[in-house]
Symmetry: C2
Subunit: 168 residues, 2 copies
DNA sequence: TTTATTTTTCAAAATATTTTGAAAATTCAA
DNA sequence: TTGAATTTTCAAAATATTTTGAAAAATAAA
């Protein structure tokens, strides 16, 4: 397989993959393109490579910057802004975990904490089922929260080595 | 908070939560409703509780069954089918991991295996960046694959206890 | 300053996804 | 068998999301 074909395939699969994770196709494709580019790319480069409009490119580049996955770089003597993706995949994963934890897990845990306080007689099986289910989800969520915190802080080598030892 | 209000909130948040994970709102809401219901519900019960059409209910119930999260039950003396959700949250998580691994991670790894074979001189920095990035993603993906396999096989108690010990 | 270049915004258009509901198919009791 | 109850299907409608592109705003060189 040629490099250009490989790039195409990677970008298109990463785009499809992203859509299963609540990330829109274009954002994932821009990320993929930057991940496999040796040099920084300008907004125009990205528009050309992916055949997308200026607005679309701009919006999704900014969103990638918000997620901490892409950075602006200024090339000396150039007026345009250029962009590079963080290439250390473990950092990328930690960054995504960090953001999604903040945006999704934490608000959900906050709600679950309120929901376990629902009024009513626990001898009523409807109340019992509700409280039990919510408590169990909350318990699991709290465990996940702790575990993810540790992953966010972990170094890749430590983490991978420990995991392989642990789950042998 | 009253039980009915708690149910509403839980269902609506679970629905919103689901959309961040590539699951459609209605499917997540039906799942939430069944999770906190003490008794099996019929398709009509679900349509009434969530105010959705017959076709929508039917389609999403079947999808939940495909995912192994919901089961049909036949109540003696009743013509209708009824449905219950798996209430053991750890089983639910394992089931979701299992399905998503099969549907998403495995095809991605298959592609990455092809992409590292891209032709070209690795002294060319474009080739090098591509191959290095793809290799690193592949490495992480393979580690995730192994780890998830072990989670799928693990018992909840063993898993939670080990995790808390491990990540102390 | 001006002015040319680049970035951002956002309403409208294009696309994609979800939902509806009525008709067809299936199931099961009589 | 028949026929009433129930489930499934699927084209069309409704919604939601993404994309476009032109205009406005911002930026920096002349």
């Amino acid at each position: 397989m040629k490099l250009s074909e490989g790039k195409q395939q990677f970008i298109s699969s990463w785009g499809a993959f992203g859509t299963h994770w609540g990330i829109n196709r274009t954002m994932a494709q821009i990320h993929a393109l930057l991940l496999v580019s040796a040099d920084p790319l300008s907004q125009d480069n990205i528009m050309d490579e992916l055949n997308i409009s200026r607005g679309n490119a701009n919006m999704n580049i900014r969103e990638l910057i918000n997620w901490g996955l892409v950075e602006r770089v200024i090339l000396t003597g150039e007026r345009k802004e250029y962009f590079v993706a963080e290439k250390d995949i473990w950092k990328v994963v930690r960054q995504i975990i960090k953001e999604r934890k903040k945006r999704e897990l934490e608000p959900m845990l906050k709600l679950l904490n309120q929901l376990v306080e629902v009024e009513g007689d626990k001898r009523d099986k409807n109340v019992k089922t509700f409280v039990d289910t919510v408590s169990n989800i909350k318990k699991l969520g709290q465990q996940a929260d702790k575990t993810l915190d540790l992953m966010i802080r972990a170094e890749e080598n430590w983490f991978l080595a420990s995991l392989s030892k642990f789950f042998k």
